[in-house]
C-alpha cells in the first residue's frame, strides 16, 4: 500500500466534487427529501396514535431513516467513485498507473466516509431543527452502530462494483439497487418480529439487522445489547473478507476477459 497513490485518488475525487454542483447537490438532495417525507408521515402517524411510552414511531422511523442513509451512502461512496472513472473514460489512466486494487478500494472507502460525515451531519442537524429529534441521544452506542453500518456499506459497495466491472455499464443500475435488495429483510423500519418466522434467521445473518434492532432498544431506553453488536461486527468481518475476495476475483476475470480495457474506453 502506498499512501501517495491513495492520496492522489482522494484528491481526484475531491476535485471532482468541488467542480460539480450536481454531485454536491446529490449528497444532500435525496437524504433531505427522505427526511422531509418520513418526518411528516411520522408526525401524521403520531397524531393518529399518540405515543404511550418514552419511545415512539416517530423516533424509530427518523432514526432508521438516518441510519439507513449511512449504509446506503457508504455503499454509494465505493460504487459511484468507480463509476465516475468509467463515465469520464479515466479508468484506464487509473489502472495503467501502479495503483493496487487495495489502494483503489481504500481511497473509495475514505471518499465514502467523507460523504457520510457530511450527509449525516446535515440530516442530524435538520432532524433536530425540524422535529426536535436528537440523533446523539443514542449516546456512545452511536459509534458502534455507525461503524457497523459503514462496514456493511463498504462490503456491499465492493460487491456492486465487482458486478459492474464484470457486466459493464449494463449493470450500472445495481449501484442504486443492491442496498434495497436487503432493505425489506434487514428490519430497517420495523422490528424483526414483524417479519415471517422463516425469514428471521436470514435477517439475523445481515449485520444491519442487529444495528436497527439495537437502535430501537436504545431509543426504548433498554440499553444496547453487547451480544447483538458483537454479532454485527463478526458478520461484517466475514462479509468484508468475502467481498474483498469476490472483488479480487472479478478484477482478475475482468483482466482475463479484457473487460477493464473495454470499460475504460466505452
Amino acid at each position: 500500500m502506498s499512501w501517495h497513490r491513495i492520496q492522489a485518488l482522494i484528491l481526484r475525487y475531491t476535485y471532482l466534487y468541488a467542480r460539480s454542483v450536481p454531485r454536491v447537490t446529490e449528497i444532500f438532495f435525496w437524504p433531505l427529501m427522505d427526511l422531509l417525507v418520513w418526518g411528516y408521515v411520522t408526525l401524521y402517524l403520531q397524531r393518529l396514535a399518540p405515543p404511550s411510552g418514552p419511545a415512539n414511531a416517530f423516533m424509530f422511523l427518523l432514526g432508521a431513516m438516518i441510519f439507513w442513509d449511512i449504509l446506503y451512502r457508504a455503499q454509494q461512496g465505493v460504487t459511484l467513485s468507480f463509476l465516475e472513472d468509467v463515465w469520464s473514460r479515466n479508468l484506464l489512466n487509473v489502472f495503467v498507473a501502479p495503483v493496487r486494487v487495495g489502494e483503489f478500494v481504500l481511497a473509495t472507502y475514505i471518499v465514502g466516509l467523507f460523504r457520510i460525515f457530511v450527509t449525516v451531519g446535515v440530516l442530524a442537524a435538520l432532524a433536530y431543527a425540524l422535529y426536535s429529534f436528537n440523533l446523539f441521544s443514542l449516546g456512545m452506542s452511536l459509534l458502534p452502530f455507525f461503524a457497523n453500518l459503514l462496514l456493511m456499506g463498504w462490503a456491499l459497495g465492493m460487491v456492486t462494483t465487482a458486478l459492474i466491472m464484470r457486466w459493464g455499464q449494463a449493470a450500472e443500475a445495481l449501484a442504486w439497487g443492491v442496498p434495497f435488495l436487503i432493505q425489506p429483510i434487514a428490519a430497517v423500519f420495523y422490528p424483526l418480529d414483524v417479519l415471517p418466522r422463516w425469514i428471521q434467521p436470514i435477517a439475523l445473518g445481515i449485520p444491519a439487522t442487529h444495528v436497527f434492532e439495537g437502535m430501537r432498544q436504545v431509543l426504548r431506553g433498554e440499553g444496547v445489547s453487547p451480544t447483538s453488536l458483537m454479532s454485527a461486527f463478526v458478520l461484517n468481518a466475514v462479509y468484508l473478507v468475502a467481498a474483498a475476495l469476490f472483488f479480487r476475483y472479478m478484477f482478475d476475470v475482468a483482466r482475463r476477459k479484457g473487460l477493464l480495457a473495454k470499460l475504460g474506453t466505452q
Partner: protein
C-alpha cells in the same frame, strides 16, 4: 519453461503471446523484444491484435498463454513495480473532463509519486505549448490540446517505457508534425523506449526505428520501415499497409 529472445538490454520481451476472448483469437502467436531506447511501431489493420498486445503489456489484460517480461521481470508477478516505470497515452482515453488541466496532472503525478511535480508539470506544458491552458477545464480543450495534455501526463513520471496508442490521431498536420519531432527529441535526450501504434504510416516512418507488422494476430514482417518497404516490394509503408490489409491471407497468415 519458456525461453526469451537473446537480446542485450531488452526492455520488453514477449514470447509466444496468445490471447483468446471466448474462443476468438485476438493474438495468435506473437514474439518480439524491444531494446532500451528503441521506438518500435506496432502496425496492422483493424483486428490485427495491436491493441490487445498493448493492453497485455499494460497489464490490463492477462495473456491466455505465453510470457511477457518487462525490465527483465515477469509482468504478472511485478505488475505495479513495472507500471511505476511505464506510462501510456491514447487518443481513446481521456483525463477527467471536469477537472482543470493542472488538477489532472497533479493527480496523475500523485499516482506515480512524482518528485518536483509542479516544476515538471510546468516544463512539460511549456514543451508541448499548452502552458496557457493549465487553468482551463480539461473538457473544454480541443482534441489536439487534449492529446498534448495527455502526452504531458504520460511523461510526468519520466517513464523508461512509453506506450503510445495513436497519439497523433486527433491532431492537425502542423501539430502532429510538432508532436512527432518532440517525441523524437525526448526519446533522444532521455533514452525512453517507446511502443507506438498508429494508422498514420507517415507518423511511423518518421518516428519509429523498427516496425512490427501484425496481421490476424501474428507478426508477418519486422524490420526498419525501409526494410519492410523493400521486403514487400512497395514504395511506402502506406502501400505495405494496404497490401497487408487487402491480401494478408495470401501472405501465408493463418490463425
Amino acid at each position: 519453461m519458456l525461453s526469451y529472445p537473446n537480446v542485450n538490454d531488452a526492455i520488453v520481451q514477449v514470447e509466444h503471446l496468445r490471447k483468446e476472448f471466448n474462443g476468438t483469437v485476438a493474438v495468435a502467436d506473437v514474439s518480439f523484444s524491444v531494446s532500451r531506447g528503441e521506438i518500435v511501431g506496432v502496425l496492422g489493420p483493424n483486428g490485427a491484435g495491436k491493441t490487445t498486445t498493448i493492453q497485455v503489456l499494460l497489464g490490463l489484460t492477462t495473456p491466455t498463454s505465453g510470457a511477457v517480461r518487462v525490465f527483465g521481470k515477469e509482468l504478472e508477478q511485478h505488475r505495479c513495480e513495472i507500471l511505476q516505470r511505464c506510462n501510456f497515452c491514447s487518443a481513446y482515453t481521456a483525463l477527467p473532463p471536469n477537472l482543470r488541466v493542472r488538477e489532472n496532472l497533479r493527480v496523475a503525478g500523485g499516482l506515480y509519486g512524482v518528485r518536483d511535480l509542479f516544476q515538471k508539470m510546468d516544463r512539460l506544458l511549456e514543451l508541448f505549448e499548452v502552458a496557457h491552458l493549465k487553468d482551463k477545464v480539461t473538457g473544454q480543450l480541443s482534441s489536439g490540446e487534449s492529446t498534448r495534455v495527455n502526452l504531458c501526463k504520460a511523461l510526468l513520471n519520466d517513464p523508461e517505457l512509453l506506450m503510445l496508442d495513436e497519439p497523433t490521431a486527433s491532431l492537425d498536420p502542423n501539430i502532429a508534425d510538432k508532436v512527432r519531432k518532440l517525441l523524437r527529441k525526448i526519446q533522444r535526450e532521455q533514452g525512453i523506449t517507446m511502443i507506438y501504434t498508429s494508422h498514420n504510416m507517415r507518423d511511423v516512418e518518421e518516428v519509429c526505428d523498427r516496425v512490427l507488422f501484425l496481421h490476424k494476430g501474428r507478426i508477418i514482417a519486422e524490420g526498419t520501415p525501409q526494410e519492410v518497404i523493400v521486403q514487400f516490394n512497395q514504395k511506402s509503408l502506406e502501400e505495405v499497409f494496404i497490401t497487408v490489409a487487402r491480401s494478408g491471407d495470401l501472405l501465408g497468415v493463418e490463425t
